[in-house]
Subunit: 344 residues, 4 copies
């Protein structure tokens, strides 16, 4: 059996470990052959593949990014008959089944393809941890560790200068990275899209922290998708990207000067940006990604098309690809109430 793998959407630490896990398992257990489609769906459409023999994946589990390249392409783009295009490509490349590694968009595409008879399974990927179909995916753990290490660093500068440090982390529609890195670094305020604080509440926390003895620098962690509940005009003009989503780097730089003006406490913005999603994955993400890759190959060989791998508790299970659709996993009320107790 010849299996084609593709990685699609934003890069994420662990993609290469998925590829390695799949290839090693396929080679050892099933004697499958593997190829990788170059740059996600774009490579599927154009039929551009690279062979993936066992030796090609040696050592890549410890590396960031994806050796296959990625893009934001989509075979149904512009109303195209995506399934026909994919089927044609598979025939040309003699690929019998597909493993698609990607986020909600990719998994939705995979679902549509499976419905049209394409033999495909999915591996969920989201740095933001916003997919309800799995407890966690790889990449999130790495992002939280990097963000936390950076927040620990910002704190010492804040304390030395008696400044309020405002740090922006990833998270457009879900505040998981802000919640976790904020808890881990002992942030005094955490701003997430799900439970928007008002500017006044934020300033009140900042002021309260600064007044308490021993004096400590207020540390504010804000998810990139956060908008204050009493959003002033400054927040109405987010620069938007091609998908109409706020551009990374907007919110902390808007928030810091407002905090400084209202509280009189010198404030500085830092945008962690792309360093959160690059580089070597943590051991946690390497393991999860490896297990996902191994399980995906088993799904293929079991003929369980239209399904995706998923983590539930400590077990890797499989669920329908449709579970990944229309189900953004946001921070629930109880986790917000929990973290609120640590503020101030």
């Amino acid at each position: 059996m010849k299996i084609g793998i593709l990685t699609s959407g934003g890069d994420c630490p662990g993609l290469n470990a998925v590829i390695r896990g799949a290839v090693l398992t396929g080679d050892t257990v099933y004697e499958s052959e593997f190829v990788g489609f170059v740059d996600g769906w774009r490579g599927v459409e154009s039929g551009e593949v690279i062979p993936l023999p066992r030796r090609k994946v040696r050592g890549i589990g410890r590396t960031g990014g994806t050796i296959l390249g990625t893009s934001r392409w989509n075979p149904f783009h512009g109303g195209a008959d995506g399934a026909a295009a994919v089927a044609r490509s598979m025939e040309e490349t003699e690929v019998d089944a597909l493993i698609a590694i990607g986020g909600d968009g990719t998994l939705f595409t995979a679902h549509r393809l499976a419905q049209r008879g394409i033999p495909i399974v999915g591996v969920p990927k989201t740095v933001d941890n916003d997919l309800d179909a799995t407890d966690y995916t790889f990449g999130f753990n790495t992002a939280v560790e990097i963000a936390t290490e950076s927040l620990d660093r910002l704190r010492t500068t804040g304390d030395s200068h008696h400044r309020c440090m405002v740090a922006e982390v990833m998270g457009r529609s879900a505040g998981w990275i802000a919640l976790h890195s904020g808890m881990a670094s002992g942030a005094h305020v955490i701003c997430i899209p799900e439970f928007p604080l008002s500017i006044q509440e934020i300033c009140d926390f900042v002021t309260a922290r600064m007044r308490r003895q021993p004096r400590r620098s207020p540390l504010v962690v804000v998810a990139e998708g956060f908008t204050p509940s009493d959003a002033s005009e400054s927040f109405s003009d987010y620069e938007l990207d091609e998908f109409g989503r706020p551009v990374l780097g907007g919110v902390a730089q808007k928030l810091a000067p407002i905090i400084e003006e209202r509280t009189g406490i010198e404030s500085r913005a830092t945008v962690l940006g792309h360093i959160q999603r690059g580089g070597a994955p943590t051991a946690y993400d390497r393991i999860l990604a490896t297990r996902f890759g191994m399980a995906a190959v088993q799904l293929v060989h079991a003929g369980a098309f239209g399904r995706m791998v998923s983590l539930r508790g400590t077990s890797v299970v499989d669920v329908p690809l449709s579970d990944a659709i229309d189900s953004v996993k946001t921070v629930p009320r109880e986790r917000w109430d929990e973290v609120r107790r640590l503020f101030g």
Copy 2:
């Protein structure tokens, strides 16, 4: 309400985060007062306490070890009437309830005390991840990350010198740290107590790895509690500690020369030892430990004595302390079969 906290048994990254989570929650939500018993049960017995006001726990969530100190003491030691001693100490120190943070021994002691009417709740702690009553505890994630980083380092030396590197990690009765760090670092053989390979099998993997192109150095990860299934005389004379358990540092140093002799491949042993359990906890462990500490205080205020906090999936729940007894969580067959597919 005045709550006494104690940490008992081997130290573990995250203990301080538990203490901080408990104190901040108690202070914010319940206006509880906290004291810490010095050096675990020894401090309970002697009534030696230190006050734990809010400012005392600021910043400690990011630090390793325990600010309270720890010991391997036990109030029932030598047939003593532990419950009476603890009750007397609580009266003298005016402590209304106890939070005991510790491993299976400590939780068993807490269970016995609860049965005798002592108002006590438990927080599970095990670097080895060998407690069945919870999916994970804090400390394990940190240990795996440290071990993995060390294994990544050993690999380059092995590759440069064409040596077989044998690394010993923690894990007396359960091979979780070996399993996870071995998977994360791409080890070629993983030796755990649950599924003992024979020396011959280990040597076969080592030789096979060395012969395959491109030539790569064999990396063998071995849990400290491993004994080969065909244990030679060399393995029968483990040095034992006070509890009759093999002393850390025995097995890799026995295994490496045997591998070298049988395969003709130069082999070197490294014992990671105490660096696996010290120092700053990972963000993952800080978060889990903080949530455990917060939940423990809620158990106390709910009067749910005789219970302990536990992680199930992504939720912190509570279970009876008796769940922690006689239930070592070993690596199950399916995880072993899974990792075996990656060997060689």
Copy 3:
């Protein structure tokens, strides 16, 4: 003898190690007593001091920032008679001599005070490595390691998406951090204030890199103080801070879209910002800072006022404070020629 220590200017990893080195040496060798002035010169002027007994400095050598606080105050500010004010404060606080830890501004102030008879010695501090009076100072090594780790992470995202990553690091008048972190991470173009490339040259390097096989993502490292030699209008409107210097975060965000427009290669800007100067110092910086602190106390006890400690080769020596004035250490031609050979 009672010695007062102050830290002034921007914070820097290693300040606490200087303080610890001074106090431990003074305590062990000279039986000196120490106090710290709060928030730099501001504390000197107001006479706000905290005692610095031996136990107060235990463990601080491993921490970032400064336990004394810092500010950008200056006793000669606004034409004030700084020497008189400092002398009065020393009398009130019964301080016999001062150790001033700071950058060129602070050292210039110390020089002026010494000329007016104040018993003061200096310890040089500059994250940017732009002081000619010493081979290196503490903080620079930490900043380069942090920047390099971040650049390593950006590279994997660039490679996966075939993007040009533009990373901005610290360095207003000197490009040392860009030079070193760029060399260490294998950047394809390094932009420093001393040897300004034109936008066209930068784009040529970027295009050349992208065209060569195997295709690799261009990585551009740019010092915050860089202006292209053919600076377009976009570069003429740097936002300036209170000292008339370009605000951190300006240049990469200007450069990336220009590169994208001219080369057709998708480009992304990242500003590392404050994470470069916060958090735990590297071992290198802890050692250098400790040695500087120890040597400063020896200068005080030798009565060598008006002098500062300095690293020459592997030796800590002392030089006149006047050496630190008007002598910005920029990247010399031979280091630029050297790194140019690695471009493209």
Copy 4:
């Protein structure tokens, strides 16, 4: 011109950066061609080479070990006419000049070869920092950072359990790694071969530290080549390796039980071992190694055979290979006196 590169002796972080620096410079500036001899002198003797085109060295500067392999071979071994053998191999492989990267043994061999007319230049390598012919070499900085991070971890376990932690680091004839990592981690006693303390002195420091308030765990750092000045019988029976040097892992395990017995303080030994010399080099080492590789190629093209590159202050210079012979750089008296002031 065709240049052959070899790496010889123990592996060391930075070897690959030297190779990369040489190849990139040779390619860009001189249009030289490069080959690598496999496994050091063994490959020179057997004429086993691998081509080193520019693309082969891309990205390797960030990796540990050596892509060329290494061994402890020596062409003069057993009285052989090494120069004739090397000359013959160079002729067969059409190599015009050699760059030998290695420690004192390798540099001595290179010196002998140069004296016999072989066109060869040297690059010094020593993790232990024990070569007098250069201020520092690559690898040492990485080793100190790894050791320091491990010592920081051991400290928290020591403090929690009130134990004395004894950590053994590399350093057979020179105590540089112990000196630097001990200073950086704030160790209470540092034991180096150059200035042997007696067991009684060590125990006195340990006891003094434990008695002082606040109670802190004594941390003892010991170089592997240390022998107490009053060496008991236990220290007379070091296991020796093939070169008659004490085997790594001997001294801490001898010292800890003696300390425990004499002071009554529970003591634990940890041997850091091979993790100190493997894995990714620090930015510092990548830069130094890159500069060394670049400079070595320039020496070759200048015909400066019989010379080696060297760091003096911040400059890369060149010195005769004979400077590397018979000149072990040990810790000098003033550095020992300096660190002694921090003990206890």
